[in-house]
Symmetry: C2
Subunit: 354 residues, 2 copies
Amino acid sequence: MGRLNKISARLEKAPFDGLLISSPANISYLLGFTARDAYLLLSKRTAVYFTDSRYSEEARQPLRGLASLRQITGQAFKDIADTCASLKLKRVAFEERCLPFARYKLLKTELRRANKGALIPSYGLIEESRMVKEPEEIEHIRKALKITLKALDFIRGFIRPGITELDLAGELERFIRQAGGRGPAFDIIVAFGPNSSRPHHLTGSRKLKKNEPALIDLGVDYNGYKSDLTRVFFLGKMSVTAKRIYDTVRRAQENAIERIQPAVEAGSIDAAARQYITQKGYGGFFGHNTGHGVGLEIHEEPKISRGSKTRIKPGMVFTVEPGIYLPGKFGIRLEEMVLTTEKGCEVISGALNK
Amino acid sequence: MGRLNKISARLEKAPFDGLLISSPANISYLLGFTARDAYLLLSKRTAVYFTDSRYSEEARQPLRGLASLRQITGQAFKDIADTCASLKLKRVAFEERCLPFARYKLLKTELRRANKGALIPSYGLIEESRMVKEPEEIEHIRKALKITLKALDFIRGFIRPGITELDLAGELERFIRQAGGRGPAFDIIVAFGPNSSRPHHLTGSRKLKKNEPALIDLGVDYNGYKSDLTRVFFLGKMSVTAKRIYDTVRRAQENAIERIQPAVEAGSIDAAARQYITQKGYGGFFGHNTGHGVGLEIHEEPKISRGSKTRIKPGMVFTVEPGIYLPGKFGIRLEEMVLTTEKGCEVISGALNK
């Protein structure tokens, strides 16, 4: 398969003989199926997939022609180290952002025992490839978005004063599954009134009142690919302040989106939103990043963050989601998803003014 | 609060001055609220909670009287190291099973810069305390179980040939929320027919046929506490083989449950189930552990696994879930939850013969 070969080819120039992949998203990306509690060992010529008896039967079929299957019986790292020894891999890289320290220690000990091998921290080889989406991946993301937009449309007919945050989340969840999604991409955030001033509010039992904002942050998993959108609804009237904040966030978002094109730095997209919000006097109330990549993971590269030097490329998919949060009062976050094109970007989450 | 003081007191005898906690479940356990992307720094006398602007407003109120709040603005470990320096903590322990290698490296560098401090791997201080549940925790688990059992009852009236795995999972999910659960404790496993031979099958679009098993592995999150149960339904007739396997698994489970009492080793509970299954000729078809602790996490200590020397104590809550999986044919796993008492155990997931 293309992806696996592409990464194996890059190992030719790498300062190690083998790469042990433990990130579930990276393994899914390379093998095309969801992998839990598994490891994938790549060398220039071989791929070996390690999993235990709970998952091995499920893996047999999709692994065909891609990687050989080794069923772990006891301690995974013992089997992995023995395999490294038999493949004569002396310098083995591991994913340092994904492997807990305790596992690093175990693996190091086992590699030394089996092969007098060295363990080398690494990051980014596969993530870099994942940043630029293939047409097939974009299709999956578009389908996830389609279901998300339908769910938000559906909820317009459902939202009313008196409904609780959890009720609304439950209805959204059910709708997503019925519409063909695997499920929500993350715990749905429904935040009414002052709860909306907490960017990652834990959906609870608050009932919606008239004239207060209802913030919904919702993602869908379609075939492993994710979407991520935030909308704020008002039932009744918006206060003058709310209107001003809403317009400020929207304008900041538009500024950021206008900035997107190949070769610009991710940090400059963040700056476009942040500067506008700061200029309007709300700089202290926008604490998080302007956006993040979305794909097999809900948060992935590129980060649209302060000072990021990552160069934007065609095929990158990420969120643009500035927000202003007034503690104890309310918060407005507006989140769209964009696909970078050759000339600029497409807002793939529907019309901006919806 | 009791738990925080208990752990701080144990630091008196520890070979370090401070403990940096990064496990969300451990932080929730100590502070009593759900914490994401946060760190808790404990010394013998102080507790400092680090979080970023997305979560800080939400944390302010529940932290009162427990820990001081420090809002992270840039790199978390820089703030943490500076705090360690100002508290004069020279030897700081971290949770080695929870911190990725890359973060360990960062933290080590920052501590050296700020304080010439040393970083010490640790595990188990809080996990050991969490193994034995307090009455309040047991109440939450019982409530999670009550909703789980209700959901399984509800589904009896719903399950019928032609329904898909995903439909069933969707209905269960919705029921759980309506019944007051925060949501499922993990991705619900619904496995029909041959899919049931995969212990962790990914719920999909297969339709249920008559006379085939429907395996449902379901957990509920109630107030942060989890439940975990597996049931196998047959619509129509069970084959002679299916009946034999079912009875073997049930008997193995009963043997394991009979073995449970304070002071026995967890490994001997595993052995009680495993030996019976092996004796019946199915030893090669039961690859996973017999059980695991359940609480704030769906999988926690104690592990009921081969050779485990962990001594069972009153107040421990764990699953007993032997299984036999015949690849390509079907699988039977039966999972109950028990609470260890002074004399033996209580099966808190309802009558065994349900």
